[in-house]
Structures are given as structure tokens and as C-alpha cells.
């Protein structure tokens, strides 16, 4: 398989921070993978995704997406990536349809293509009958699903998902993950962060465990479980690699 994301010695140290949030990370993500980035709070998952999406700049190191360097081809990269942030990045007083029409148009979609795509995805995620209701009236699960649609309207080649199922009911979680699997089958590479280890074990085909800005382990869920003695699931692998200490930090 071809590598769609190549990361070489990527580091990030925030201004005034004592430690690196991401420290010399190198990684290759293949086309068509569902790649899970797991780690405790403050491990560097969101920092890594934010850099890959172009939201923040690395302190050092280099990465390419689809063989394009961000510093020279930011606009081209933005066209092929989709981002689903952890918070509901939607306008609460606009309806689901209005939000999606707006964000879709910012990806260059327009006319009937945009309208049809909005209807199709809302329908697939069970939200069509609420299309003209304001987001502020939606439940957490409904907002999550609209949040996801806003990131995939343009059929991205690479999709970044930051905790896409946090705080939702089982039905919404299943709808989201099922839809993501369909997207993946249609060729979208998915990079996903989560604290739900059981969910990640089922959903991802490759996982990297990050802690303190470094990658501690990488592989398929089964190889990671096999690599740790007496581990029966990913959670035990995770505890074994990252320890039981709290990661509280201010």
C-alpha cells in the first residue's frame, strides 16, 4: 500500500511550555487505513492532528499528505482533507441544512451537487427530517452527526476525526462508526483519536499509542495485544505502556 501521510521527526513545543507536546515523532499512514491515535490526556494526539490539518505549525520536522508538503501546498492539501473537530463546530442558530450548505460551499461545492450531497448524508445519518431545525435544539448525538457530515461533504481523501463519538448515545455512536466504515470502504483514509479503547480496537486496523509526545507502540490491535504479556485487550496494553498515573496538568 502507498503511504498517504509521511511524518518525519515532527516536534512541537508551545511558547512558554517547559516540555515538548510532540517529540520527534515519525510515522507512516497508508492509503485506505483506519488509523487510531490513542493516548492519555496531554499525550499529543490533538497537537499531532492540529499540525496535520494546518492549524498550528511544527517547531521542527516535516510531513507530507498525498506527497504534498504543507508549507508549499496548503490549499491543495486542504482540498483533500476533511476535519471533524472534537467540539461541535457548528452555528447553533442556523439549521442543520444551512450549516451544511455553508461549510460545503467553503469546500467549493455548489448548486445541486451540494444540495443533493447534504440531503444524502443527512438521510444516511438519520437526520433528514430535522434538516430545517436549528442546531441549538439538537441533542448531543445529533450535533455529533451533523459535525461529522460537515467534515465529509466534499468526499475527502483523508479524514481527521478528533474524538468523534465522545458524549453520544450508543445509537448515535453506531451510526457514526458505521458511516465511517462505509467512507473508508469508498477509499477515505481515516485518522482517528479516542479515549474509547474498546471502540478503537474494533474500529481501527492500525493503532499508535502516544504518551508524553512520543509513540510508544504501533501496529494492528491484535499485534499490539500479542506484544504485551498476559494482555487480553487494548486497554491492558495501554495501561501496561502508559502506566496508571494521572496525567493532570494545568
Amino acid at each position: 500500500m502507498n503511504s498517504i501521510i509521511k511524518i518525519e521527526s515532527l516536534s512541537k513545543k508551545y511558547k512558554d511550555a517547559e516540555m515538548f507536546s510532540l517529540n520527534d515523532v515519525s510515522l507512516e499512514i497508508n492509503e485506505g487505513q483506519i488509523f487510531g491515535l490513542l493516548g492519555p490526556n496531554g499525550a499529543g494526539k490533538t497537537t499531532l492532528i492540529s499540525m496535520l490539518c494546518g492549524l498550528i505549525k511544527p517547531t521542527s520536522g516535516h510531513f507530507t499528505i498525498n506527497d504534498l508538503d504543507y508549507s508549499h501546498h496548503a490549499a491543495k492539501i486542504k482540498k483533500i482533507i476533511g476535519v471533524v473537530p472534537q467540539e461541535y463546530a457548528l452555528y447553533p442558530t442556523l439549521t442543520a441544512r444551512e450549516n451544511l450548505h455553508y461549510f460545503g460551499s467553503m469546500y467549493g461545492l455548489k448548486g445541486s451537487d451540494l444540495k443533493d450531497k447534504v440531503i444524502e448524508t443527512l438521510d444516511l445519518l438519520g437526520l433528514l427530517k430535522f434538516a430545517d431545525k436549528r442546531i441549538e435544539t439538537f441533542s448531543g448525538g445529533m450535533k455529533r452527526r451533523v459535525n461529522l457530515i460537515a467534515g465529509i461533504l466534499h468526499n475527502p481523501k483523508v479524514l481527521f476525526l478528533d474524538e468523534p463519538t465522545v458524549g453520544v448515545d450508543v445509537q448515535s455512536k453506531n451510526a457514526i462508526l458505521d458511516y465511517l466504515k462505509v467512507l473508508n470502504q469508498n477509499g477515505t483514509t481515516i485518522i482517528y483519536t479516542s479515549h474509547h479503547l474498546a471502540e478503537a480496537e474494533d474500529f481501527c486496523d492500525t493503532i499508535a499509542i502516544l504518551d508524553q509526545g512520543r509513540i510508544y507502540a504501533q501496529g494492528t490491535p491484535s499485534t499490539l495485544i500479542a506484544s504485551v504479556e498476559e494482555a487480553r485487550n487494548l486497554e491492558e496494553v495501554f495501561i501496561s505502556l502508559t502506566g496508571k498515573d494521572f496525567r493532570d496538568a494545568i
Binding site: 492549524l55 482533507i81 473537530p85 467540539e87 457548528l90 442558530t93 442556523l94 460551499s105 467553503m106 436549528r134
Partner: protein, 427 residues
Amino acid sequence: MLYKIWMSIVKEFLLLKRDLGGLIILFIMPLILVITVTIIQDSTFKTVSDNKIQILLVDNDKGSVSKTVFDNLQKNNAFDIITQIDNQPITEEVAKENVYKGKFKLAIVIPKDLSVDLQAKVDQNVQNIVSKMGFTDSIAEPKTSKVLQQKEVKLYFDPAVQMSFKTSVMNAIDKMISQIETKSIYTTFQNQLGEENAQFEQKSFITFKEIIPRINNKEVLPNSVQHNVPAWTLFAIFFIVIPLSINIVKEKSQGTFVRLLTNPTSNLIIIIGKTITYLMICMIQFYMMVAVAIFLFPHIGLPSLNVEGHLFLMSVVALFSGFGAIGFGILLGTIASTQEQSAPFGATSVIILAAVGGVWVPVFAMPKIMQIIAKSSPMNWGLEAFYDVLLRNGSFVEIIPKISLLFLFFIITTSIALFYDKKKRTV
């Protein structure tokens, strides 16, 4: 790109439409502001006021001078002269106490024997002059000169009254006293020289007349409306800073701004969308205020705004003032992290810009250093451009420097906002 800008405008209008309270504040409050301020300030432009100022007059003289003062003040419709309280003549002590307690704005105390002593002083002076001129044979022998003390008309002001009111009252009384003195001198000369030798014309020889500019062969008389509507319209236009900065801060806190940063859409397109939307709002505000000033003001006892031949240039000034306000709003929204930062800062900074720009106090009346600062206030550029058009009959060429400064201000503030945002993301 055009479609993206169009969709940004649609989105901004939808957001505004859904915030009914905000929309009312955006359009109704400026109208209330311009109506209220114009009504209040209109009285200072009027020569006849419905609300008379009560003045206490303490007459210790009871002669011709105090009668003249009383008559002249009575003739002035702005004042209501009070000489008695509880059917008792007012003493200086009573007047002083009432004025210092704020019950009355002003008390005038006319000293004892003012009329008699003034006449005596004038007689002395005239006799001296006449005798030096050799007319002593034909008139009575000069009496022995009595030493007369200078007389003092005392004024007591309520400590809360403004300096401008004090100054104008003092000037009016000074003028009145001078006229009385002059009249006494003329009359005495006339008496000394005999009616047949001297017939003095006692009317002022020198008068003054204000020559009012004429536009299209019509006199343009400045009034409160011509001054206030442009000033407060500009003030309202700059208040767009608050909703615009809140809009930007909200986008950051909602996460929608982060989503937009990951889209293949430049930040410039988002800013163009906001600029066009809020410019339209500024122009709607402007036309609403002008419409109120033309059609509503005459029904509430105010003069109508005369925009004859000026509306196009006024619209140009409003448009560029809108650019200035929007640039400031974008910068503030970009730098502020919370609405608690942007809203109070936006409101106070607009008030400061208005004060510095001459919306309340004319720039020429400010201290030298403030006059220099005023020249760097965008609100001053807008205000001067409005006055050029509306009061000085200026042409487009004359407003070019001011509207160029406003546009430059927009470019600079927006560029700083874009640069700041980019810099912030390299943390």
C-alpha cells in the same frame, strides 16, 4: 470565490436574522440615540426655549439701572425673573443660599445706590470734559468732586452649572451694563450741552450680521439637526464594532472558525464576507437615520434634515466610515479571546473615539494636544467629511483625503488582524 463570498454573506445575514434582540439593538437603538440627542441639543440652538431658566434678582438699588436690568432680562424669553420668594423681597443671603443649594441656577445682586452713583460718576466725568472744552460759561459750575467707590454687580451661580452657561450669562450682563453706562453718558452730555446743541443718536453705530452660506441660491442655516445627525449617525455606524467583534469571538469559541481554517478557503474571503454584510448594515442604519431626520423630526418639533443635493456624497462618507468601523471591529474580534473582553472594550473605545473625534465637543475647543490627537481619530475624519458635504457644500474632491484615510484605516486594521491571526497559529 464569488460563490464562497456570497455564501458567507448569506450566512452572516442568517446569523443576524436569528438574533432578533441583537437586530433590534442594531437598528432601533441608533434611531433612539439620534432622536434623543438631537432633541436635547436642539434647545441650545434655539433662541426661544420652552423651558425658561429661573433667575433670582436682588434689587438693592431700586433705581433706573436695576429697572433696566430687570426689563432687559424680562424681554429675554430664556429667563424667568424672580424678585420675591414667599411674597418677600429676596435678600442677598437668601439668594445665595438658594443658588448654592441648586434650587436656582443664578442670582444677580444689584448693589445699593447703583443708579444714583452711576449718574453721579457720569456727571463728574462729563463735567470734567465739558469744562476742559471751555463750555463752563454756558453751564452750571462744577460741583465739588465726591469720591465714588466702584460698584459691583454680584453673580451667584449654582456650582453645578456648566462653564459655557456661566460665560454666556456673564457676557450678556456685561453687555447690558455697558449699554446702561453708555446711555447715561450720552444723556448727561445731552443735558449738559442743552437739547439744541446736542442730539445724540443713542443706537449702536456698529452692528454685526452673520453671512450665511448659500447653496443653490438658498441660505443654509446651520441648526441642531444639520450638526447632530451626521455626528450621531457616525457614532452609531462605529457601534457596529461591538456586534462584529462579538460575531468573530463567537466563531472562535464555537469552533466554527477552526473548521473554516481547515477548509480550502482563505481567511480573506471570510473577512470580505463579513465586511460586505456589515457594510450593508451600516448603510441601512445610515439611511434609516437620515429618513428619520427628514420625515420624523418635523413632527416632533425639530427642523428637518436638509440633504438636498448632498445625499450621494453623504452616502459615500457613510460607506467609508463603515469601512473604518468594520476594520476596527475585525481587529478587536481577532485579538479578543472572549465576549467579555470585546463588548466592553468595543463600547468604551467607540465612546473615546467619538469624544476625541469631536462628536461631543468641537475639536477647536479642545486643548492643543487633544486637537492633535483628534486629527488621528477615524471618527474625526468621518465627521469632517460629513460637515464638508452638509454644511460647507464641499465637493467629492474635498472629501477624498478624509475618506481615503478611513479606507486606509480599514486596510491597516484588517491587515493587522490577518497577520495577528497567522502569527497566533505559529505558537
